[in-house]
Amino acid sequence: IEAQFAEKFEILQTIFKRTFKTLFEGGYAEINYETPEDVLNSGVHIIARPPGKNLTHLNLLSGGEKSMLAISLLFSFIELNPSPFCIIDEIDASLDDNNIDRFTDYLLHFSQETQFLLITHRRNTVEVCKKIYGVSMAQNGISQVISLDLEEYMKSRGEEDGIAI
């Protein structure tokens, strides 16, 4: 079991380096054992250097940079252990719109092999989805769902409040 973890972790390390570089369009990151002499019990930590910046302690990264770092790790898990479907609940809350585009580009790249279902409040995320499930709760505390394709959804929002989501 332990040898198996060590093997998989080694593959993860390679995938994570590459995924970070893609999502950050440069820079460098690693995921390592804290105490490599004791692989069985060692904790695991990440060091990261966004492009153009000095290698910093994770605490010095901004809110959105930390999110992108976590997303790089999650995508590395998905690449290591592909799942036929992947459901993601509001992973884009702290991202600026450009980072959302990088995140969705990456999803589109995997979307041939993987069925993605995303919960989001962000316009840029909705815009790459083909099918939209609109959930609502009338005053009565009971949820309802309506399915639309993207065009129908954008049209309905456009009438309501000028291209809001």
């Binding site: 898990f77 999803l107 499930y133 959930v135 005053q139 949820s143 399915s147």
Partner: protein
């Protein structure tokens, strides 16, 4: 094993029968805060055999049954059906059913045949679905990575690889 259809009745805020038909294309669930989006995800986790009420944001498993609202009283049971497609193999679709009654009784079915919870769990081992792997990333999944101590992060990585 991809998502084809989901039916929810009596689960959390979905008091009324609700059916979602899934596309294989990338899809989004949108809607106001508190409308029930994450509850749909909880329903999928639950029908796949989730046993930890904490992972379902509930204190006791019975909390997943619709507990009433201004003009509707609490329900007596909760039922979720998930239809999974398996086109790549030549087996047919897989219909998973889970029901919970307010007295605590549970029912599980695979393709309409009654089974035990462990039968549902063993169905998904080694498929990268459910607890094995990261097929469902919950709201707050980012924070738990970002705030993880080295031993927390080790646990997260062990669960994922």
């Amino acid at each position: 094993m991809y998502l084809k259809e989901l039916e929810i009745k009596g689960f959390k805020s979905f008091a009324d029968y609700t059916k979602l038909t899934f596309s294989t294309e990338i899809s989004a669930i949108v809607g106001p805060n508190g409308s029930g989006k994450s509850n749909i995800i909880d329903a999928i986790r639950w029908v796949l055999g989730e046993q930890s009420s904490k992972s379902l944001r509930s204190r006791r498993m019975n909390d997943v049954i619709f507990s009433g609202a201004d003009n509707r009283s609490a329900m007596g049971f909760s039922e979720v059906n998930l239809l999974l497609g398996r086109d790549k193999s030549d087996k047919g679709d897989l219909l998973i059913t889970r029901r919970l009654f307010k007295d605590g009784e549970s029912e599980y079915k695979i393709n309409q045949k009654k089974v035990k919870l462990k039968d549902i769990l063993s169905l998904f081992m080694d498929t990268g679905v459910g607890k094995n792997g990261y097929s469902i990333i919950s709201q707050g999944g980012i924070d738990s990575i970002v705030n993880a101590s080295p031993s927390d992060l080790r646990e997260i990585v062990e669960e994922a690889v």
